[in-house]
Amino acid sequence: MGATGLIGLGLLSKRALLDRLNQLTSGSIPGSVYGANFKRGHHLLLKNLHSKPSRTKRVKVAIVGGGVSGLSCAYHLKKYCPHFKEEDVILFELEDHLGGNAHSQGTTAPWGAHYLPLPNPENHELLEFLRDSKILIKNSKGVETFDPFMMVAAPQERLFIHGRFQEGLLPKQGLPKEERKTSESEFKRFFSWTKELTHTKGRDGRYLFDIPMERSSQDSQWREIDNLSFKEYLTQKGFKSESLHWYTNYCCRDDYGTTSSEISAWAGMHYFCARRPKPLPGLDQNPNEVFLTWPEGNAFLVKKLKEKTPYQSLSKMMCTEVAQDHLKVFDFEKKETIQVKADHIVLAVPQFIQKHLAKISPKESAFQYTPWMVANLKIKWDEDLAKVLAWDNVNYHGKGLGFIVSHHQSLKATHRETTLTYYWPLTHSAPHDARKWALGREHRNWTEDILKDLEPMIFDLRDRLIKIDVWPWGHAMVSPTPGFMFQKRLSTFELAPSVISAHSDMSGLSLFEEAFYRGEQAALQIKERSSS
């Protein structure tokens, strides 16, 4: 009997059969590939939008870029320059939506970072914003604490290693005896070493590592390690354990999209030594392990920044030219160019775009950007999965960084669907090649890779899938390679005194806190200049 051919037929129901037939014939899982509107952006290169302005607008401040740094600039202008009227400030954004890398357009989950670590007590500006947004609140005893529903709930992190999940991300389960012993003692040594450095100040009285990074110590002894790679530095310090190197590499890829052998040792150490949040009242948890998180990730913070900003922000507007006292923007809706005369221009865009705006010849750039892929997997959820998964779920030696369960903070008693946000920094080849490779890929290619990485963790993932949406980021974040933080990073140019740069890549670290700080600094400069 020729029965073997039947294995592939789902046999469960008519509906399932049709779905399966559909999958077999089209070979595809539902979902789409989104992405930054690089077609719009590439007009900059083609220079075909430099038509004559049809009208001229006058403002005091024009902000180019509606990501976190641009929004933070607007947010702080309201605070620092209260005399500005609503129409004195205008913000232009190329995309359809605000938020830059931290947006959540078209989904309930983010396309960028999912959380914010607790800020250091000296980061007053950020704490003030969190207070403003009712994220930092007073508890029933009148003591300041963070909204308990925004602090990540248990179970927080699990690592899938040797075929099972373990609590926490430090590899423990199923390690060979020898490796277990070395890794235990090395992790102990590593964390006591980094903890000590976290609280150490340099000769200039500043912490060795701080956030924003500009406030870190300038001691030459520590600046020198910027020329080493983080992996080299750790090896020099005698760390040999495979699981420790996996973990430190994982952290570097997670925050900076760069492997530990390609990242500056200073940036690597910054990850481990720059955070010293205050203990929280009544919370018996290490504050370093507390994250603020929302179903839509940091898009929540973007929403708050926007809410607190009274000025006009226009999307689908591309800046095509910047000069000392004016800029030109092209309106993709109305297909017209507007000239905007401004006292101050804030370029809240990454360096690779600034370069084009300032018409600087594209020679070898000091700023390197890593591509990423972020995917949101909409899946069926049930108790079986709830028992296994935590908020953050990582695959040991996985291709990607694992995934976040977006409804984790929800107070609903039952869930039937959820979204998993999967992160994959494309570190397998040089950024330029990886970017080209990524932008040429189709939905099918991405989903195959995602499933290959995640199916070991969720064995019936394919049966649970509703759709996979994919967002490849060509220039996801600046890469702090050796020598970058204290040399190449400083090679930015000044266009004109009235043009101020504000972007996290000026910090070399693509963190919400850094973008927030650069925006704040720009607002501060405008305040000082307009009062003098």
Partner: protein, 497 residues
């Protein structure tokens, strides 16, 4: 004659493939991992067919009788296979052993069919013609079965009835063959009695398959099921036995009608009876309306707000006569307002203050439910209580889950309440625990409403007595960021079950 047998080839090959598909589908339903299950079943089945074919050479005489016997047997075994496998799944030690025994026996019998038939027909056809006819018809039958099974049979008949239908067909082929060749067969009467008996059994099975499914589930719940519904949130099952009935949510017993009054009197009266003319009451959970029934015994009550997640639950307790009799139509009472919402989310948005809050949530068996027992929850609850008000909460068993029970105590205290722990014996649950939470010290009530079946002023004292095996243990509080209660609960109850 030859044509008739060729038609039976088509029929038996369809039947044969259907049994294989049923075994494969059942195995993937019940055991999961469909690719592995199908692969193993198909392999074993084909191999067993090979064994059958090999064994066929040992049948020397009376081939027609043998063929009819095989048909009748395979019909009976194949026909009942799905029902037997399905019902026994929860009760046999090794389901796989049973499954593969069935597969091997059916496969071997089906493997006998074609060689026997070919030998019966070899004198009537040219051999090459015979081989080509039989095999082509066999494969056509297989195609027919494989299309019919997923597109028509499973969606419209279900696995059990499909299996009976094809068992019946197999037996019918046997009986038909018997009729056609009645002149050449010696023991006609035995075969026809056997055939008719099998046929009757299979028809009974086909008609009774729905009942069988009920019976199978009833075995799981230990009593016949009288109601079942898969709501958006949970699976509701009501079973009935010995004049009482039980409600199960997701397989967990919620109450037994014969002793639920003990549970609900203990949940409500020690708290509510101490208040001077309470007016506004909130019930969180408790969509069965049984706590509301107790609350309605206080004439001073002006309003009862019940917040329960599942509309299916509150609806059946408002409409089903048996259940409405039990809760005395409490949910239809004009003072009662039913809200279907997530309790935690509702509470966060609530601005009203209540004299008394009764909390009757499911046990903290998972992280989502664990949030309803967290310190953050009780902090929200604080805002919903008047200064003189108090609340009572069911908090699992202080005997079976001692640490879990006292974990709830620490949690309520950390949220800034005074607690009064107490417990009651509910036969179908065992020793059960509760807390009263209040802002000021708790005074025991002087009077209870009339007609209580369990609580009296005299018996109340014993509720507050904790013998050494249930005494307080030092356990940290349940918080959103530790979910310690869920871990304790799982640990302690897995020791009991």
């Amino acid at each position: 004659m030859g044509k008739a047998l060729l038609i039976s080839v088509a029929l038996i090959s369809t039947c044969g493939l259907v049994y294989e598909l049923i075994a494969g589908a059942l195995a993937s339903y019940l055991l999961g991992d469909s690719v592995t299950q199908f692969s193993l079943i198909i392999g074993t089945y084909l191999f067993s067919m090979g064994i059958g074919s090999y064994l066929s050479k040992y049948f020397k005489k009376g081939l027609l009788e043998r063929f009819i016997q095989v048909e009748l047997l395979v019909g009976l075994i194949g026909g009942f296979s799905a029902a037997v496998l399905f019902i026994s799944f929860e009760h046999v030690h090794s389901f796989r052993l049973l499954l593969f025994t069935f597969v091997v026996i059916t496969g071997a019998l089906v493997g006998l069919e074609i060689p026997l038939l070919m030998r019966i027909l070899k004198d009537e056809y040219d051999f090459s013609d015979l081989v080509s006819k039989i095999f082509s018809i066999d494969y056509v039958g297989a195609l027919f079965a494989s299309l019919l099974f997923p597109l028509v049979l499973v969606p419209y008949l279900g696995l059990l009835r499909t299996s009976f239908l094809f068992g019946g067909l197999n037996v019918a082929v046997g009986l038909w063959t018997l009729y056609l060749f009645r002149d050449r067969i010696s023991n006609k009467t035995t075969l026809s009695t056997m055939g008719s008996l099998f046929f009757a059994l299979i028809i009974a099975g086909f008609l009774g398959s729905q009942k069988m499914l009920h019976f199978a589930e009833g075995l799981k719940y230990g009593a016949p099921i009288v109601y079942k519904k898969q709501s958006k949130y949970q699976r509701l099952v009501i079973t009935q036995q010995n004049g009482g009935f039980r409600l199960f949510l997701n397989g967990n017993l919620q109450f037994d009608s014969r002793d639920e009054y003990r549970y609900h009197e203990a949940l409500i009266h020690p708290g509510l009876a101490t208040l001077q003319s309470p007016r506004h009451v909130l019930v969180l959970g408790g969509g069965d309306g049984l706590a509301v029934r107790e609350i309605l015994k206080y004439p001073s009550i002006e309003s009862i707000t019940l917040v329960d997640l599942d509309p299916a639950m509150t609806k059946i307790f408002t409409t089903n006569p048996m259940l409405v009799e039990l809760n005395k139509a409490s949910l239809k009472h004009p003072k009662v307002k039913v809200i279907n919402d997530d309790a935690f989310i509702w509470l966060r948005h609530n601005k009203k203050k209540f004299d008394f809050v009764a909390i009757d949530f499911p046990d903290p068996s998972n992280y989502s439910l664990g949030k309803l027992y967290s310190k953050s929850f009780f902090l929200e609850l604080k805002r919903a209580l008047k200064k003189e008000g108090l609340f009572s909460i069911q908090s699992t068993s202080p005997y079976f889950a001692r640490e879990s029970y006292w974990c709830v105590a620490s949690t309520i205290e950390e949220a800034g309440f005074l607690i009064t722990p107490y417990h009651a014996y509910v036969p179908s649950f065992g020793e059960w625990g509760y807390f009263i939470g209040s802002f000021g010290p708790y005074r025991k009530p002087e009077n209870f409403p009339e007609e209580l079946k369990f609580l009296t002023k005299a018996s109340l004292e014993s509720l507050f007595e904790f013998p050494p095996d249930m005494k307080r243990l030092p356990v940290p509080a349940q918080k959103l960021n530790n979910q310690i209660l869920v871990h304790l609960f799982e640990k302690e109850w897995s020791r009991v079950n």
